[in-house]
Amino acid sequence: MAARAPVIPFRPRPTKKKLVSDAVLGMILFVFVEIMLFAGFISAFVIIKARAVGSVWPPPNQPRLPFAETAVNTTALIASGIVLLIAHRMFLKGRGLGGGPAELGAGQAGSRGGRMPPHGSSGGVLAGFGGLLSRPVGRLLVAATLLGGMFVGLQGVEWLALIREGLTITSSTYGALFYTIIGAHAAHAVAAILALAWAAVRLRRGTLTRDALSAVAIFWYFVVLVWPFLYFVVYL
């Protein structure tokens, strides 16, 4: 059979381009796991609530959760998500960097893929924290991080007040569910804020790739978007 046709060494079929880059895809998968994690928590909450003694929920001797006050945190968190969304889109389009259209990396987070050249060809003039704030993307990124920090901070204040009022993790299943679920969310928020800060540092150094920012941003969107569900299920 080999004699039938001439040997054609290289004839690749056309390949499709990657639909989603590696880092973004990896993060999306991770977020799915996280969604299922919180789905598990929420279903636990709903089931235990449905089985409450005499259908009284929250249990009579337990403090009520501050639904109204928490609206402030909620606003801060959602604002943070929106600010990040703007920054993210700007960065993807290569705008808001203060310089010309930068050669942005299309590869992966970390060492692969292109990098943004350090901002400011004069070098060093704009370095430092100020350098970050002189660029719209940088300003927005810092704002998103701070708003996220505000959310976690207010949350901490709220917890202290609740503990004073007698709601602890062992005071009832109500307290146990509250601290476990909201605590899990807070832990995710802290991790995401650290990631945002890391992205800001990379942006200042000029080593932030599109994929890295996208991955971090997707995680933060998840933290932001899962919150309203928790807020309405747990606090109401």
Partner: protein, 583 residues
């Protein structure tokens, strides 16, 4: 075969690999090469299989000869007996079936079969094994802490698992949950890699329907795992809190709900059985296609079936809870979904038989294992249907019938499937051919005792014998001479089977040392891993000769072709001389 003078071992072009890092034996601990990580998973898994097998030996001895001094262990107390069965189940599922079939073969095969130089995230891959390794140490340590290992069954139902006053293993049960939780994290990291690599790193020309079925199945299994494990992780966190800080999530006395755990556990637990089943199914179909020299019957149908099974597997979990007090209407629904899910599974079995039909079958050792898988798994699947009918299950639940059912599924998966895969890819992994004669001895001396162990257990179960009983002689209604004889028979067969595993280890050792050198493609198979050296170099192919794919993986016995196989990387014109010299 003329190879151009390129140093294959160092000819990789990308900078993400570890070989600038540690050298020597450290290289094996700290490597990011997917093949090394696969071996780490494989050997850890095999070691744990020995641990789990030893446990089975001890408690089977206790069952057959209650109260004796088990050689190598001593007398078994009731608490120890419970800890042994609990950890046997846990280890065999989470530290043997998953690491070997999913993690080891997934890691080894996916990049090689899709023509990639490595996983997409090599460092995450390394982290995955490291987390797994820590989890292994945790679970082993949990056996030796004060109070002994966790003894509340592998399903860890609360309140027994949640309250130390009930289970009497305060430390052991917490370590058990932590170990299992860490293990899940390890597989999550691995799963992200598997899915991303399949989607983004395929060789040029490889379309979705050119991907070998085993890769499809491993990736679907990873997706199932990732979608189902979240709720169980949530449950594990709550269980740890119940155990350590005294919350009452699962404690009815404190306002919690023990059934909640069962839902969280089985919502994961049933998809989990497909997580381990699918990789084994994939391995088997690769082997069947190769050794019957036939195209897989209905390649696309198989993929759709597998996806459908995956979707359905999320809707059957409550068939484990028929007598846990769930609403009978709910039991009806879950009976229906359970019977439905048997359809795609049966379909896969028929596809395998149809692939064999009319093929030129070669009964090599891997092929024997693959055929045995189909035959034995069939028994497991069929008995599952009895259990899935809520009415019948009221009788069968928690008897030896259930135990025999899932051993007829898990044993074909974790043991038969693994041996099939191991013997099939041994030449690729270690560069040596295995001894066929020893392989066949090992095969028969494993398969026959396996059936002798578990067929009596079906009978015991139908006789109403409950599981998890330490000494049947203490229960008038469960004990009779005939039942005891069956238990002794099962234990005797187990001893034969365990002893036969030495043939396997001897064969590995002997073939690895002095077996004939394996050519690139000893089985004349089509998939891409057979186009590189045995064993493949770091980076899998020379970076300038990465494979290009022209067709699907199962073009065997194509009419008008001289060879009865047609590797995926050969262009239509004929054997590709320039890119790949055939060996």
């Amino acid at each position: 075969m003329v190879e151009p003078a390129v140093d294959l071992a160092h000819g990789h072009a990308h900078d993400d690999h570890a070989d600038h890092g540690p050298q020597g034996w450290l290289k094996y601990l700290w490597s990011t090469d997917h093949k090394v990580i696969a071996m780490q998973y494989m050997f850890t898994g095999m070691f744990m299989a020995l641990v789990g097998g030893f446990m089975a030996y001890v408690f089977r001895m206790q069952l057959a000869f209650p109260g004796i001094d088990v050689p190598g262990f001593g007398a078994v107390s009731p608490g120890e007996y419970n800890a042994l069965v609990t950890n046997h189940g846990t280890i065999m599922i989470f530290w043997v079936a998953m690491p070997v079939l999913l993690a080891a073969f997934g890691n080894y095969l996916i990049p090689l079969m899709v023509g990639a130089d490595d996983m997409v995230f090599p460092k995450i891959n390394r982290l995955s094994f490291q987390v797994f390794f820590v989890s292994t140490i945790v679970i082993l340590a949990s056996l030796f802490v004060e109070g002994g290992g966790f003894a509340g069954a592998w399903t860890a139902y609360p309140p027994l698992s949640a309250v130390a006053e009930y289970n009497l293993t305060r430390l052991g049960s917490t370590l058990w949950v932590i170990g299992v939780g860490l293990e899940f994290v390890a597989f999550l990291l691995g799963g992200i890699n598997f899915i991303t690599t399949l989607m983004n790193s395929r060789a040029p020309g490889m379309r979705a329907f050119d991907v070998p079925l085993v890769v499809w199945m491993i990736v679907v299994a990873s997706i199932l795992f990732m979608l189902s494990v979240g709720p169980l992780l949530a449950g594990a966190i709550m269980l740890i809190f119940d155990q350590t800080i005294g919350t009452g999530f699962f404690n009815p006395a404190a306002g919690g709900d023990p059934i909640l755990w069962q839902h969280l556990f089985w919502f994961f637990g049933h998809p989990e059985v497909y997580v381990v089943l699918l990789p084994a199914m994939g391995v088997v179909i690769e082997i069947i296609a190769t050794f019957s020299r036939k195209k897989v019957f209905g390649y696309r149908i198989v993929i759709f079936t597998v996806v459908a099974t995956g979707v359905l597997s999320f809707f059957v979990w409550a068939h484990h809870q028929f007598i846990a007090g769930i609403d009978p209407r709910m039991a009806n629904i879950f009976t229906i979904t359970t019977l439905l899910i048997s359809v795609p599974i049966a379909e896969l079995c028929f596809v395998y038989i149809a692939t064999l039909y009319g093929g030129s079958i070669r009964l090599t050792t891997p092929m024997l294992w693959a055929l045995a898988f189909v035959a034995e798994f069939l028994i497991g699947g069929v008995t599952g249907i009895f259990l899935g009918a809520a009415g019948a299950d009221i009788y069968f639940h928690d008897t030896y019938f259930v135990l025999a059912h899932f051993h007829y599924t898990f044993f074909p998966i974790a043991i038969i499937g693994t041996f099939a895969a191991f013997t099939y890819w041994f030449p690729k992994m270690f560069g040596k051919m295995m001894d066929e004669r020893l392989g066949k001895w090992h095969f028969w001396l494993t398969i026959i005792p396996f059936n002798v162990i578990f067929i009596p257990l079906f009978v015991l179960g139908m006789g109403g014998q409950h599981r998890r009983i330490y000494n049947y002689n203490l229960h008038e209604d469960l004990n009779s001479e005939m039942f005891q004889d069956m238990r002794i028979l099962a234990t005797g067969a187990l001893l034969v089977m365990l002893a036969a595993q030495f043939i396997f280890f001897y064969n590995c050792w002997k073939s690895g040392r002095s077996g004939p050198k394996a050519p690139k493609n000893p089985w004349k198979a089509n998939t891409l891993e057979w186009t590189t050296e045995s064993p493949p170099p770091h980076g899998n192919w020379h970076p300038l000769r990465m494979p290009v794919v022209y067709r699907g993986p199962y073009e065997y016995s194509v009419p008008d072709r001289e060879d009865d196989y047609w590797p995926q990387n050969e262009p239509d014109g004929g054997p590709l001389k320039v890119i790949d010299g055939d060996s």
